[in-house]
């Protein structure tokens, strides 16, 4: 007869273990996206964390190798989906750089308006989520209806709201309607008041300040070494902004400041984003004035004159021979790209969004690599939260503006 030993087997070392292992995510209301962290906690303090990413990896770079340029645009929507238009524009600018397409000024200014609206909606989400994680739901609920105004403008311009697929190589698919401009005016009129009130809820709020100041801080030096870009880098005190350093879409025509922080903590990141929203508003106003200054035929331009790359209007395709030919050529891939390699970066909602495009002369990219800002700076997360409280780690995660779609590609 066999002898039974009734005892529980414990893994080696677990008796001596002084820390608690806590699994956070991948789906949890506090992670705002699909992120998993296996944390070692000493009481409530974080000793270390192991991150797992890739839960929503969709092989975008592989997909892009079999897609003509226009079919890549919807892929870019799904990177940082809080500010899809910036990704779309970044992709079109990359193609234009490779193909040598020059865009008219009016197109540039229209693009600037859309991109800055996207930046506002991106920052708005991020900052209000930081509010939610520190216990203030009001801000989040309150600003949502104003993000709606932005989405209505997208809808008026391109027909969709979240994954916008906005624009074409060389410009926009159609001119902005009067309704679009009316909606823009409404937004410009109403939003400053809302932003002011939003700041009133948080910026000097004692509870909010105590929850965010000092949490998740990073020095400028470490931030640079970690490849931080965007508001996260600027909060650490480095005034690097792609819009200023490598202007695209005529950003050099605009007057705006680069807000910077000092400590690189959650509070500074919040402040920098808020300040940037004010700057974005000012840029939109300037762009709108510039657009209104166009007169006559110039005021109707909404795309560059590049029939070999710009998809013609659908009604022309049905009625005009030339438009039909170009439509066929573009859709069927008869238009080859020049050989070459380009790297083009735009200032995305959360940092430098780069496109590294290699063309071998075929109709699809030979290789397309996305420089996804939050994939790069999320590496610093264990360093940011080490030694802090678990509840601060949650705030740090949301204040980094991590977007799972972009991170996992």
């Amino acid at each position: 007869m066999t002898e039974h030993h009734h005892h529980i087997t414990l893994p080696d070392g677990s008796i001596e273990k002084q820390t608690t292992t806590l699994n956070v995510g991948p789906t949890h209301p506090a992670t705002h996206g699909v992120f998993q962290n296996i944390m070692e906690l000493d009481g409530e303090r974080v000793v270390s964390t192991e991150q797992t990413v890739g839960y929503i990896h969709r092989a975008f770079e592989k997909l892009a190798e079999r897609r003509p340029l226009y079919q890549v645009t919807p892929i870019t929507d799904r990177l940082n989906y809080c500010s899809s238009p910036i990704n779309n524009m970044g992709w079109h600018l990359t193609c234009e750089k490779l193909l040598g397409v020059e865009t008219p000024k009016r197109v540039d200014y229209l693009r600037v308006i859309i991109m800055e609206l996207a930046r506002i909606s991106d920052h708005l989400i991020c900052n209000s989520i930081v509010g939610v994680d520190t216990g203030a739901y009001t801000g989040f609920l309150y600003v949502m209806q104003y993000r709606e105004l932005i989405y209505e403008i997208y809808e008026e311009v391109c027909g969709s709201r979240l994954t916008t697929n906005i624009g074409r190589i060389g410009g926009f698919e159609r001119n902005f309607t009067n309704t679009a401009f009316t909606k823009l005016e409404k937004f410009l009129k109403e939003y400053p008041k809302v932003l002011k009130e939003f700041e009133g809820l948080f910026t000097r709020n004692r509870i909010f300040m105590e929850r965010t100041i000092g949490g998740g801080a990073i020095s400028a030096e470490r931030a640079l070494n970690y490849g931080f870009t965007g508001p996260n880098l600027r909060a650490a005190g480095v005034d690097y902004d792609v819009r200023v350093h490598s202007p695209y879409s005529s950003y050099e025509d605009f007057q705006f400041d680069i807000p910077v922080g000092k400590t690189g903590d959650n509070y500074d990141r919040f402040l920098v984003r808020n300040q940037e929203m004010w700057q974005s508003l000012s840029i939109i106003e300037q762009a709108y004035q510039k657009i209104q200054a166009f007169k006559g035929a110039e005021a109707e331009i909404y795309h560059a004159d590049v029939p070999e790359y710009y998809l013609p209007k659908k009604e022309d395709v049905y009625t005009k021979m030339e438009a039909l030919i170009w439509h066929f050529k573009i859709i069927m891939g008869e238009v080859d790209m020049p050989k070459g390699e380009v790297y083009k970066a735009v200032e995305g909602g959360n940092g430098e969004l780069g496109f590294y495009l290699i063309s071998d002369g075929g109709r699809t990219p030979f290789r397309l690599h996305f420089r996804r800002p939050c994939f790069i700076y999320y590496q610093a997360y264990p360093e940011l939260i080490k030694g802090g409280m678990l509840s601060d780690a949650i705030v740090t995660m949301s204040s980094l503006n991590l977007i799972a779609g972009e991170l996992d590609a």
């Binding site: 390699e341 790297y343 970066a345 699809t364 030979f366 420089r371 590496q379």
Partner: protein, 168 residues
């Protein structure tokens, strides 16, 4: 004021001689190549030399050229000098049989995950990396999906051959 591409080329040639080559101007960005054994020396020099100061690693990725025998994989570094606002592209090539390339993660913390991603998709073995394992794909995966040998389309379909993609 951006550093002149020609100046960078002269400095690099002074220091490394024939070991840096294939200089070209790629849409305004200086692009060059070095043997893969030299990658860390070149990166360190670009980082330390005060008149160059490429201390920001913007991007790191790989490219697969299946027809280029002995040079099937390229590891591409995009570096940025934020003070002078100069960007350069630096490449090293490796054969697909022996994909050892030294890790840059000691120099740039940012390279840590980018190298893991490159390993994950192309199988570049970054020698000296502290935690070189898959990052976006599942650990059990036993191939490197972004290599060109893995086509996206079903290969039995004849209506989607390369000819239709401008690569006859």
């Amino acid at each position: 004021m951006a550093i002149d591409n020609q100046y960078i080329q002269i400095k690099l040639t002074e220091k490394f001689g024939d070991l840096v080559f294939n200089f070209e101007d790629s849409y305004g960005m200086l692009s060059f190549e070095a043997p893969k054994e030299q990658n860390l020396k070149v990166l360190q020099y670009l980082y330390d030399e005060p008149t160059l100061g490429f201390q920001f690693l913007t991007d790191l990725c790989a490219v697969n050229y299946p027809d280029d025998k002995g040079r099937e994989l390229a590891v591409v570094y995009h570096l940025h000098n934020l003070q002078t606002n100069t960007r350069i592209r630096f490449k090293v090539f490796t054969s697909i049989e022996n994909t050892d390339v030294f890790t840059a993660s000691k120099l740039f913390s940012a390279a840590d995950w980018m190298e893991r991603e490159t390993f994950d998709f192309y199988g570049v073995n970054f020698v000296g990396h502290h935690n070189l394992k898959r990052i976006l794909n599942v650990d059990e995966m036993d191939y490197f999906p972004l290599r060109k040998e893995f086509p996206l389309e079903d290969q039995t379909r004849i209506d989607k051959d390369d000819e239709m993609f401008g690569r006859g």
